[in-house]
Symmetry: C2
Subunit: 274 residues, 2 copies
Amino acid sequence: MDKATSENGVEEVQLLPFYPDEHEGIIVEMKEAMDPDDFSVILRYSLSQWKLQEKKGVWIKLPIQLVNLVEIAVKEGFMYHHAEPHYLMLVYWIPETLSTIPANATHRLRIGAIIMDDKRELLVVQEKFGKLQGTGIWKIPTGILEEGEDIFSGARREVKEETGIDTEFMNVLAFRQYHKSFFQKSTLLFLCMLRPLSFDIQRQDSEIEAAQWMPITEYAAQPFPPEYSIFKHAADICLAKVDKGYAGFSPLPIASSFSDQISHLYVNKEDLNL
Amino acid sequence: MDKATSENGVEEVQLLPFYPDEHEGIIVEMKEAMDPDDFSVILRYSLSQWKLQEKKGVWIKLPIQLVNLVEIAVKEGFMYHHAEPHYLMLVYWIPETLSTIPANATHRLRIGAIIMDDKRELLVVQEKFGKLQGTGIWKIPTGILEEGEDIFSGARREVKEETGIDTEFMNVLAFRQYHKSFFQKSTLLFLCMLRPLSFDIQRQDSEIEAAQWMPITEYAAQPFPPEYSIFKHAADICLAKVDKGYAGFSPLPIASSFSDQISHLYVNKEDLNL
């Protein structure tokens, strides 16, 4: 156990390694293995000190290798906050006032890519997996954004990966929110228009059964099941954009309050005269 | 340990309680306490059976009360998938092929509510917490969506809670994506226009320091710090909407492929002639 000797010669328990957060809280990122009994003693002592110091939220990030410490933290009153494959984040709210612990993420983001060439042909695919597999129905390329990825760059990446086509991001033309898409979580699907910069399809073998350029009228005439009406809407909105000046949202870089990264405001630039 | 007697009289280990998912997988929702050693034996046996049956993803949901089983599951090769305050979800991918386990949620959703009355006054607040506290700067009401909540209903709820004002949802006028807003997670802030149906402010005492109707020109002239430029943009976009017919997106109910709930497509209805 980590101990230090105080001025009067008595051994003292040290605090867990920590750094402060911006909300009068404490962040503990455990990295090294620790005997569970030692962890229990040090955690209890650390909490008592942080209570005296009137700290608020105490976070403990435990890599999955330190799974043997999870039970100790829960026994001390910690709750789960979120988890990723390789770590679990626990949190303890010290004050008796209302907790201001931020909510966990609730949504994943998907993109659907609307890409039309000069001959009014859409870039479409058939996937190797999923409910449309084997139906013969063609769909626009879709994909899930990675952690920390922007909508405009995720859309370009997915199209490139699935079809090999290079694109320029134009607009978000619509988006769809739906719930319970996996367990209690929700999904936002952004229908994005991209301009093709190349036309020679290189299909991604692992996920894509077939890919082609298909006349949009032929695409829109397919018998989409009712729960896939989003793919029919995509064609309607695409035609409204191309033929009738339908206005979508485009990304505008603006300063971010949460990090030194740029954030993006997706806004109807045409109507805002930008 | 749960055991059953087979036809030849030999005691057999039973499988964990489970039900199948729609992707050739297995979902185990543990509810009752179990001795960790028993859990270890039954889990190992269950996995061996599911491997023989060529199952794919195996999910185990452990309520926080059963934290003593987490280490056992990890030792058998399970990874964390996600966690909420009261449970941890673990997953094990059986096949040797590419995992199709769905990604975890990456975003939380916030709304910013733009509400203007007939005298061109915006509904604005000062919060008791946050970085603008004590600056004297007024902002539009903002809030975080709850799990499973629609953007249009979350916007109405937050405004009602913070200010007591009843509203009708009109449009999403813009949205902002920013990253690392809490740990590695991202946020989408939807700027929503709502029409006020009442005007008598009832301030939420726990979170709101002050609330009022404020002339929009006075609001827009405030010295917003650069990282809060989003609040200035909100005023510009509001004026573009009111004075110049700026088109945003409005929700259109469409069928959902993931549940029997209705999902919503947010689309520029004006340009789509809906």
